[in-house]
């Protein structure tokens, strides 16, 4: 029962945060909305026995990533509200149409009763416990290649960031 309450309350927060991201005119509010969502999800991870994931979510995502976002927002300028008037004439109605179709399809699936999120498989009775050991056990065995590949990703990120955003102190291009 308590889980239901948590789900409803925290879930509402998550959705609220998400909606804030989408509809807030000021990017700062959007970022804060995203923060709310991220925290909410962290709560859900805990509920779902994904402790390490939850911790990382809060530390990396909410801590690092979002900070970076806020930093850029600040740099670009907080005081500016976004212009949200639509220039494309048919865009909004069309997007609305898509939303409606999504709702209809989703609703049909949900209410049609011909829908399972997960199939019944053996071993599902014991939910996995996302401890550090358990996760590490997977990461350093079967997932070791994937783990190594992330190094490539980070190299690219570093090299790319430098290539794209490094300017000389006077703001000029390094050379062209």
């Amino acid at each position: 029962m308590i889980e239901v309450v948590i789900f409803i309350v925290v879930g509402a927060a998550a959705i609220g945060g998400a909606l804030a991201v989408v509809f807030a005119k000021n990017p700062v509010y959007g970022a804060l909305g995203l923060l709310g969502t991220l925290f909410s999800l962290g709560v859900f991870y805990v509920v779902n026995l994904a402790h390490l994931v939850a911790a990382v979510q809060v530390i990396v995502y909410a801590g690092a990533v979002l900070t970076l976002f806020l930093f850029v927002i600040m740099m670009i300028g907080v005081d500016k509200d976004d212009d949200t008037t639509e220039k494309l004439r048919f865009h909004r109605p069309l997007v609305g149409g898509l939303a409606v179709i999504t709702l209809v399809v989703g609703g049909a699936l949900a209410l049609g009763g011909r829908f399972d999120w997960v199939p019944t498989v053996a071993g599902a009775e014991t939910p996995p416990n996302g401890t550090v050991e358990a996760i590490a056990g997977r990461l350093f065995t079967d997932w070791v290649l994937a783990f190594e590949v992330t190094a490539l990703l980070l190299t690219i990120a570093a090299a790319g960031a430098v290539a794209l955003a490094y300017f000389k102190p006077d703001g000029s291009e390094p050379e062209e």
Binding site: L88, H91, L94, V95, L98, I101, T102, V105, L109, G112, R114, F115
Partner: protein, 632 residues
Amino acid sequence: MTSELFVPLVIVAPLLGAVFLHFVGRRIGEPLAGWIATAAIGTSFVLGAVSAIDFIRGTGEHSQHIMLWEWMPAIGAAFEIQWDPLSALMTLIVTGVGTLIHIFAIGYMHGDERFARFFTYLNLFAASMLALVLAGNYAMLFLGWELVGLCSYLLISFWYTRPTAAAAGKKAFIVNRIGDFGFMIGLMLVFVTFGTLSFEGIFERAGEVLTTGTATAIGLLFLVGAAGKSAQIPLYVWLPDAMEGPTPVSALIHAATMVTAGVYVVARSAAIFQEAPAAGMAVATVGALTALWAASIAIAQTDIKKVLAYSTVSQLGYMFLAVGLGGYVAGIFHLMTHAFFKALLFLGAGSVIHGMADEQDMTKMGGLRKHMPVTAATMGVATLAIAGFPLLSGFWSKDEILAVAFNAGGFASVLYVIGLITAMLTAFYMTRQWVMVFGGESRWDEGVHPHESPRVMTVPLIVLAVFSVGAGLINTPFRLGLEHFLEPAFEGISLAHPPEGIGMFVLLAAISVGAGLVGLAMGGFIYTRPREVWTRFQAGFGRLWEAWATAYRVDDLYGAALVTPGRKVSEAAAFRFDLPIIDGLVNGVGRFFKETGSRSRVVQTGYVRNYGFAFVAGLLLAVVWLLIAGDI
């Protein structure tokens, strides 16, 4: 066998002459080129005559097939010669008259800058015409048939810088082609009926294979072709225009030889017409009507050659009348005599034109008998011959035709009457012509000095005059020389004959001679008088004379009914249909794609969210699609 060698050479000789003159004619020049051409066709005549001796003697085979080489074996077409009395006679007419006309032309074409070229064409024509009459199958016959058309085209428009000449040549060819259209379909029908186009294969089996329906169809289709070539109603309109060509051409092609090809084809196809009396009657009717129609037009012409042209049309009508009724001998007989006197008339006219410095209008002539005695005399003979003056050649042949028509009875009696009227008209307009040209007082323009033509022109006239007088004697009721000669060629054909008995002959002869004399007298009486008399006489006919003088305005009618609408249709097809609609459709497809592209490229707005929209829409579509496919 000499004939196997000689007969092909009959064609080859003028052909070689043509080829030779084509390449070197210009260099050897006048008059040698003309003499070479004459020698070529003269050789043909000699070869033909030698080869025909057997037929004249009545010994040897009466029909020979000489195979040269295959042409289109699938349809039985080959270069193949049929040598029988009919083709022999035609050969002799063509080469004989042809030789004389060649000689005449040497004088007539004197001074023309394309003198040699003229003889090239003449020789080529001779070769083509010989190919036509010597052909052993319909395909080769058609070859000659078309080639003479080509030569006719070339010779009519010989003076191509004259737009009228060029147009006349074109008109002749095209009208002939219209006839050929029918002829070709006839040939196709012959082929599917007999499985071959070879005379041998056709005529032997005609009786057993043909039904009346098929035979009639073939006959009528041949009639269409023959009407084109032989200038019968309704396709005669090209012949008067063809007078644009040099006069020897008119004499050779448009009087003596080519235009008789239609008659020849009907005669040649006697075995088919035998099975189709209706077709034969159609031929006869067309012939008779044409005879009268053209004669009536001839009455009112003032151009010396136009008179002769319509006269030719009219005389060809006689021949059609004869062959249509089965009187093949009569038809061919008239063909022969007509070749002589009509060639003579044309050459005479040519001589006059030559002497009058290219004047052709008879109202500006008169009194020429003093200045051109030989021409006047020979033309006088020819006029009498064509008018059917007793004992001259035209008398015998024309009378035979009329007699055949009379004897056939029934509907043919009507044709007989028409023929009789025509005979009277013929006598009238020919006399009128002679009198207007040679009789009475001179009405020349200033500065014209008529003179007799040189010997090279007058000698052929004299020779032809002799034949015009005497040629009729080869086939009289008293001595059927020609009929006996031709009989082998019409084996198995029931020939139509004049009524038996001298009494009947005398009666009929008297009637037609009477008709002729009436015409002769009228013409002589009126046109020897001063001009006002003619005018009054002509005015007496009122609008009718006008119609005759303008040839019933048939040309205008054809122009309005066929040429102009045809051109309009063509223009509509080309510029209202082909370009805007068919091509427009094609280009429209291309434009449609481009338009679609240009119009829809605005979808690519450059805005990310807009791209995202397409993206998400596609995603939704894919999801829904898979869900439906997965039968959820």
